[in-house]
């Protein structure tokens, strides 16, 4: 393995790219924006990501899932009261200074903003994985008698997805944090 050493940190660069895509979306994030944020030039960019912006975005979305939803989904497996945990997860969309309320949901944004159907499908699949994990945790709580849902089992995933994806837009219309949280609370009551 001869050759010059990398002058930049690959992980740090990818994390920087995630934030650029998160803020601007796939189409609006230009390759120059990305390179600037990643602290690298054209040559290093296309050497590391031969597929260019497309390849970078695919890896970026993959790591986003690993960084943000995945730890929570793992936690959810060990928790007795999933409704309360899910509520806190949804609350992050209402925190005025958080990345989620400012940039929105990475996956929902992608479904809206990306041209390539490949990315839309991948984003939808990631949201589906989250809904699946929510479903599993709630089903365990129901079987254990911790919760007594009044909503039919077959609607759980879509109902929870719709609450989350809705918040992603609604937060731009309704700025009052307490109203948003009250709407989350009310919507989640059907699981208690």
């Amino acid at each position: 393995m001869a050759g010059r050493q990398k002058i930049y940190d690959e992980d740090a660069a990818l994390n920087a790219a995630i934030d650029v895509f998160w803020q601007q979306g796939y189409e609006k994030a230009s390759s120059r924006d990305l390179q600037k944020a990643m602290g690298i030039g054209f040559s290093s960019f296309y050497l590391a990501y031969k597929g260019g912006k497309q390849e970078l975005f695919a890896k970026s979305m993959q790591r986003f899932f690993t960084l943000y939803p995945q730890p929570f989904l793992n936690l959810l497996k060990t928790i007795d009261n999933p409704v309360e945990a899910i509520r806190q997860y949804y609350y992050v969309m209402t925190e005025p200074n958080g990345k989620f309320s400012q940039f929105g949901c990475y996956f929902s944004n992608t479904i809206f903003q990306a041209d390539e159907n490949e990315f839309k499908d991948a984003a939808a699949k990631n949201l589906g994985r989250i809904a699946d994990a929510f479903y599993d945790a709630l089903l365990r709580a129901k079987d254990a008698g911790t919760i007594n849902p009044s909503i039919p089992t077959e609607l759980w995933k879509t109902y929870l997805l719709n609450l989350w994806t809705g918040l992603n837009t609604t937060k731009s219309i309704e700025k009052d944090q307490s109203i948003l949280r009250a709407t989350i609370d009310f919507s989640l009551k059907v699981f208690e």
Copy 2:
């Protein structure tokens, strides 16, 4: 008033522009795409819309409201059972071959896709106008004893907005029309 006569129909051209913006969003709809759909050239385009794409979009969004939500909001004022009417309105998002399910909600899309905050705010305001009309109709029905809502009055608008804006994304994840409709039905039960 001397001068050459317009060779194209202004209303038809604006309607064509609406569909282009609806399908592609403000940023992705290029001025050439718009001109082609409108059946006019550069000169006529910038003569009719001196503000260019921005002015055309502003007028397009205005007319969209007049063409689609407005007639329904007028109808809502004359109706005894607003919940059933609102349900049907929400159902359009689940019709596989309809413009709404294919292109999504014009206003929600704009909030996600437009760069200019001016357009995001205008889109949010339009959604607010719809929510206001829903609120008024439901309040009348409650006062008349037609419905017996179990959701606090102060959450009505946000709850209804969230259901609608959520569907705009959720329909891309959950393709089963019957599940989508069942979710709408279940969510609207709190007003009955």
